[in-house]
Amino acid sequence: MKNEKPQVFSKHLADRKVLKQLSIFEEILLKMMTSIENKPEALSDVLVLEVSYANFAGIITASILAELGAEVIKVEPPEGDPARKITYNSVYFGDVGIPFLVESRNKHYITLDLKSEEEREKFKKLVSKASVIIDATKPGFMDSLGVGYRQLKEINSGLIYAAISPYGHYTSKAKEFSNIPDTDLTAQAASGFPALIGDPKLPEPYNYPIRAGIWAAWYMTSVLAVTGILLALIHKAKTGEGQMIDLASNDAISVCHGYPIAMAYIFEKARPRIGIYDYIAFPYAYLPCKDGNVAVVCIRDEDFRGLLKILGRWDLEDDWKSILDRITDDISRLEMLGLELKKEFSKYACDELVKKALSYCIKSARKKIGGGFPIIVKTMSPSEVLKEKHWKIRNALLEIEHPIHGKFIIPNFPAKMSETPPRIKWIKYGLGEDNEQIRKKYNLD
């Protein structure tokens, strides 16, 4: 890498000696972290069977385990998992949708009709060799076929059985709601996400609660499921015991960040939707400039003072000095300051304002005392992110070439690990593509 002089935004790093030390550290990291081919995979001794039906939480969970090195076999009915057809704007790659393509990492595909007794026996043979089953079918479905946790633990006492569904496989609601299938949107709604997004002051329907524009609930459910499975694998490594894990996607986001529960507990009411504003910091928002939006973040009072200096609005300081002035449940007060900021921001192009804030922060880093760090960045679109060279250097977005359908990009696993780097070895998705190989390898016939 070229030796460009790095810009720092921290008082502790603004020192020539420190920067020299850190450029040596970067070289060590490049050596230690970027060569992955000959390194071992952490879960290479783990066989995972993924049985999911139109439920991406199951598919993504299996995908992450495969990135960590597990051998993952997706078991589908002969007609295939309907999840294959789920996609954006009816765009397909080959015959699968975009989400299925993105999550088809390092997997094997076999078809088994679990409704036929003969095929079920083959499935049980596979189960006897497996460490993990991911069941993202209708709660009770596998059990009704005789291949649920209570039957399978008898043939494999070390089996880890992860059940994924909207309301879980236990509690009084589990049975009553077992008929309702899982989707990201309904799980977001049940987790309290849309109730916090949007602006109730706008005209209908723009004032409705709004969905998070990514699969926020399905991905959250998946990372929690992987967490549960890894914990169970550690228990199994120590004791040989397997266990059951239960995920309720309708609960995943709210239990993971906990805000809805803790907030309702202390305020004894729901937080209202407050448009672009935030509940604990101000400004902590996307604000419009002349030619687009920027994200602006001032956490501490000195950061806010820095922003006022950049904008040349020191007159506001007196009324909005402390975080206690700026954060309130009185929305009209939030808007008072919000309008002042919007007025100033609209005078600038995004890049202009971003540059101003950056040079202010760089100066702050070199000051002995004082000087805040008001952070302003452009709200980037995915196509702008694709152009960023930092992600190329880090291999964050991989280009993959399919022999028939051509090139496409998928995001890499985000954690880089020095001993057992997670990796994408292949992308394939053919229904029943590995029938023969798996049947042979595990002696199923």
Binding site: L185, P194, M244, I261
Partner: protein, 445 residues
């Protein structure tokens, strides 16, 4: 099997038995050099499952998040969300800017299994407590560095918080109706990356269990968000952006958030043909719509113009039904639907208490609190919330005496030199004013 499946699973997860069951991470010691949410989330989950997590803070000021309250509201002179993030942990306050402080960190690292830090990239290394330094003291250490953009590459020193990471990853432009832009609420850009941190640490622990080897993990907040986006793949195939789609999940047709007859908001999303036919049955509209080839197959329904037409039909139907009626139909026919739930409804949802996702904790210092439970449910090694957070430096004596074998005199000397310390007299940092500290056996250990 004569026993009902759901009562079988109910028995497995019986909440009254949790405290008799083993903790999977018992004996794992984690040194947490963290602040705000991203880093602490890693320790939070590990502590739920039995790890001994030692949280290191700056004396007097502590973690900035201690005072980051919603609407500046404290609960028993503390931040309720700080309790959520820091239940089951130990609190020491060490001045990292002093050589002797760093020596203490090295001594703790020597007897720890995992180190988690989320300073600005490079800062831990510059302070002499980075991976290259601590792995010399303890070669088996698992060291996780959490940062905005990772530890190498040109953006590495750039500041990051949840909102900035959402902007840099491209998430920022995806939520809202076209022309609007909302952030993902409640710091999704911290909590989701935190879970990837948990996953990578557990993976490294599993590998160490087998081989005895530790490792370094470099985790970028923005890369975690990029991993859960399909937009880059879609863009690389179509050369178009998916963009903002308001309430509609563009992969589900029909889908959206609708207003019911009784004025409530409900989320509906149809993922498969089967679910679509069930919905039509429930709507009593089968014949007219199924025969329309614009709607009968998923790839036709997902075309934006057809989707829009369908959504209008569903919207009109929802207007004629109450929330309860639609949920009953969803249970009966089997299509995805959920009320849009806010904080208060989530908090009062009996199902979540039954699941253990909302728990009542009885804490020695703070008394009763109602908080989120463990993030995932395991039946043999369940997570649990044992105690709430503590004031800055509360466990100094307990940790330094018991784990490092320091004497009272040595501790006093370190206090005098400002190497270790306690809390400033501010809410969020100090104990509740009515708390009897003199008779606290742990504090006065």
């Amino acid at each position: 099997m004569s026993e009902d499946y759901f009562s079988f699973v109910n028995q497995l997860f019986n909440s009254s038995k949790i405290w008799e069951k083993p903790e999977v991470l018992k004996g794992i010691r984690v040194l947490e050099l963290t602040h705000a949410i991203f880093g602490p989330q890693v320790g939070r989950v590990l502590a739920q499952f039995g790890a001994e997590v030692i949280k290191v803070e700056e004396p007097w000021d502590g973690d900035l998040f201690r005072t980051a309250t919603v609407w500046s509201r404290y609960w028993k002179h503390s931040n309720i969300m700080f309790h959520v993030m820091h239940a089951n942990k130990y609190f020491v306050a060490i001045n990292l800017k002093k050589e002797k402080g760093r020596e203490l960190i090295k001594k703790l690292a020597k007897i720890s299994d995992v180190v988690v830090e989320n300073f600005r990239a490079g800062l831990a290394e510059a302070w002499g407590i980075g991976y290259t330094q601590l792995s010399k003291v303890n070669p088996k250490i698992i060291y996780l560095s959490c940062s905005g953009y990772g530890q190498w590459g040109p953006l590495r020193f750039f500041p990051s918080v949840d909102l900035v990471a959402q902007s840099m990853a491209g998430v920022a432009t995806l939520t809202g109706f076209p022309g609007q832009t909302y952030k993902l609420p409640d710091y999704y850009g911290d909590f989701l990356p935190g879970m990837f941190g948990v996953i990578s640490v557990l993976t490294a622990l599993y590998y160490r269990e087998k081989t005895g080897k530790g490792q370094y993990i470099d985790l970028s907040q923005a890369e975690c968000l990029m991993r859960v986006m399909h937009n880059f793949t879609y863009l690389s195939i179509t050369e178009k952006e998916i963009g903002c789609t308001g309430n509609i999940d563009p992969t589900m047709s029909p889908s959206g958030i609708f207003k019911t007859k009784d004025g409530k908001f409900i989320a509906l999303a149809i993922a498969t043909d089967e679910q679509f036919y069930k919905l039509l049955e429930a709507m009593n509209k089968s014949s007219s719509i199924i025969n329309n080839e614009k709607f009968s197959k998923i790839h036709e329904r997902l075309k934006p113009e057809n989707m829009e037409e369908l959504i209008r039909i569903v919207e009109e139907w929802v207007k004629t039904k109450s929330m309860e009626e639609i949920i009953e139909l969803a249970k009966k026919y089997g299509f995805p639907a959920s009320p849009v739930m806010d904080d208060w409804e989530i908090f009062n949802d009996e199902w979540r208490r039954e699941r253990g996702s909302i728990v009542t904790v009885n804490d020695e210092m703070y008394g009763e609190a109602v908080l989120p439970g463990p993030v995932v449910m395991l039946h043999k090694t369940p997570g649990r919330i044992k105690w709430l957070s503590r004031p800055v430096g509360y466990h100094n004596k307990y940790v330094f005496k018991k784990l490092l074998g320091l004497s009272d005199e040595e501790i006093k000397q370190l206090e005098k030199e400002g190497v270790i310390g306690y809390w400033d007299n501010k809410p969020g940092l100090k104990p509740p004013i009515y708390y009897d500290l003199k008779n606290d056996k742990i504090f006065n250990y």
